[in-house]
Point group: C2
Chain length 102, copies 2
C-alpha cells in the first residue's frame, strides 16, 4: 500500500484509534520508548501477541508507526513513531487535554 | 440528561462527530453564524428537517450546542456553540490542519 498523503484521512484514522483501547495503549507505550514486541506484550494484562501484531500492522498501514529490524542474533525488532505519527499523537494529547480540563 | 463534566467523554463525542458528515456540516455552519433552523436546512442540498433536528438534539446532548428560543411573533430559535463546543471545535480545526499539512 502506498503511503502518499492522498491516502491518509486523518479523521478516519482518529476515529479508528480512539475506538480501540489496545491501539491507544500500544501508542502510549511506544511514546515512552517501550518499543519491542516482547516488552509491549508484557506491558498490559490481556494483550496477546496476536492482538498486538494486528494493531502494529494497522498503525504501520496508517503511517503512524515504522518498523525497524536489526540484523542481530537474536534478531531485534523495534517500532517507532513516524513524523506523521508524532503529529498525530499531539492530536491525541489535545483530546486528553480537553477531557482533563472539563 | 445531566450535562456534568463526568458524563462527557471527548473521545467518544469526537468519534461520533467525525463519523457524520451532516454533523460536521451543521457545526461548520453554526460557527459561521448560520444558526436558525430554516437557514440551516437551506444551507445544504439533501439536508432534511428531520435529519437536522436529530443532529441538533445530539449536539445539545453532547454539550456542544445550546438552543435559545426568543418569545417573538413568529417565534425565533437559534443554536449557538457552548464554551465546551468552542473548545471542541478547535479540536476539529486541529484535525483539518494536520490533514491539510500532509
Amino acid at each position: 500500500m502506498s503511503n502518499s498523503s492522498q491516502d491518509v484521512d486523518v479523521a478516519t484514522i482518529l476515529q479508528n484509534v480512539l475506538g480501540c483501547k489496545w491501539t491507544l495503549h500500544i501508542l502510549a507505550q511506544i511514546r515512552q520508548n517501550v518499543n519491542r514486541p516482547g516488552e509491549l506484550v508484557r506491558s498490559a494484562d490481556g494483550l496477546t501477541t496476536k492482538v498486538l501484531n494486528e494493531r502494529l500492522t494497522k498503525l504501520i498501514r496508517f503511517g503512524i508507526l515504522q518498523k525497524t529490524s536489526y540484523p542481530e542474533v537474536p534478531p531485534r525488532v523495534e517500532y517507532e513513531l513516524t513524523e506523521f505519527g508524532k503529529r498525530f499523537s499531539n492530536l491525541l494529547d489535545e483530546v486528553d487535554r480537553l477531557q482533563n480540563e472539563l
